[in-house]
Amino acid sequence: MFKSDYEIKIKDFVKNEYAHNPEDGEKIANEILKNYKGDRNIIINFEKIKTVNTAFANKIIEALYENYDRKDLNKYFSMKNINELIKITIIKVIENYKEVNIDDNDDSK
């Protein structure tokens, strides 16, 4: 783990308590790509967010997969203030991304 964190708050990009728009997910993905260079721990903060849908989460998860190493993500990525509904959606989106895009023999895990 790094000693410093890069934290991004979903609520700063979403107008209400539901993160249901892919456009907002894309803005967050762009913000991460602009500011996170893999040199800190990365934390996504879901404070004041009740639900995220797959259309929103897809944008962020895809950006993470396509721009950072999976080994690093497993080491340095975390989420906070996350409820069960959000967790279920994020897991579902990650599992789906892996099923569709990642070869089982891929050893970059």
């Binding site: 539901y18 009740k50 259309a55 989420m79 895990k109």
Partner: protein, 294 residues
């Protein structure tokens, strides 16, 4: 003047919906500028079908430029149109009784044109909270799944012309919601992206499978699959009409209709009492998986 008399009963099934689409397809072709949709003999219409009627009225006026559109109705149908606020939005009639089991009819065109992307969430939240008195966590859960259909309509359908209406059926413990978009339709998208030889029903079924998406990005294909899983989990049903394809999950109907609908109609129903058990559902999921691994 062109007058179409609607039948005595209009239920939310393919047979009756096709009759309505048939009228719409005829109106598109006729030259007469004065149209009357006559519901004087109709004494029952499933409330959620008002979304389809609203979508059709919208296109008759705005796409086919038939300005003089009239609706005549029986007392029963007038009550239906008043309870879901359709009459007020279409004719500016005042509504009487606000104590209702209807989920209000709404056209989202104007709000989406003004870039209010939260309009659907705000609408569902208000309807479920104020009128149908659902608890907050139940509203969050229902809103999450319904948002997937709405986002699909505006992003894949590439349209702002989206219409919704619903009805609570207390005796059956069911809520039925109809969402209609006047976009490019599922078959057009799927054929362009996947396989030009697929027919309309194959395209609809393809879109319901996990991981299948017509988006160019690598992530996706969970929206319709998720809503499909939602209705299965809550003793519900889903039916989809898009172009000539008509699919109904519970009744195992997969047909290519002779009636073409230029857009997509998604009808979902679910047992709202089963949603009271959200905490238990989460416990089961927690047992299955509780960590995130890339």
């Amino acid at each position: 003047m062109y007058i179409y008399h609607f039948p005595r009963k209009i239920n939310n099934n393919f047979n009756d919906i096709n009759k309505v689409i048939n009228v719409y397809n005829k109106i598109k072709k006729i030259k007469d500028n004065q149209i009357t949709l006559n519901f004087s003999d109709t004494n029952w219409m499933s409330g959620e079908l008002v979304a389809l009627l609203g979508a059709i009225c919208y296109n008759i006026k705005h796409k086919y430029n038939k300005e003089n559109l009239y609706i005549a109705c029986s007392k029963n149908i007038e009550t239906t149109f008043q309870s879901n606020n359709f009459s007020k939005q279409i004719t500016n009639m005042q509504i009487g009784n606000t104590k209702t089991t209807a989920i209000e009819y709404k056209c989202f065109t104007e709000e989406l044109n003004n870039n209010n992307l939260n309009c659907f969430d705000d609408y569902i939240k208000k309807e479920l909270n104020e009128k149908l008195e659902f608890k907050q966590e139940e509203i969050d859960y229902i809103c999450l799944f319904l948002s997937e259909i709405f986002v699909n309509a505006r992003t894949h359908g590439r349209t702002h012309n989206i219409f919704c209406c619903g009805q609570k059926y207390p005796k059956m413990n069911k809520i039925k919601i109809l969402l209609v978009d006047l976009g490019i339709g599922i078959p057009y998208n799927v054929r362009n992206r996947v396989d030009k030889t697929m027919n309309d029903i194959q395209c609809i079924k393809w879109s319901l499978k996990k991981g299948n998406s017509t988006k160019i990005e690598n992530a996706g294909g969970l929206g319709l699959y998720d809503i499909f899983e939602f209705v299965k989990q809550h003793d519900g049903n889903i039916s989809i009409i898009s172009s000539n394809g008509q699919f109904n999950y519970n009744e195992n109907i997969e047909i290519i209709s002779k009636e073409n609908f230029d857009g997509t109609i998604i009808s979902i129903e679910f047992d709202y009492t089963s949603i009271r058990n959200i905490e238990n559902m989460f416990k089961n999921i927690r047992k299955e998986k509780n960590f995130i691994e890339f």
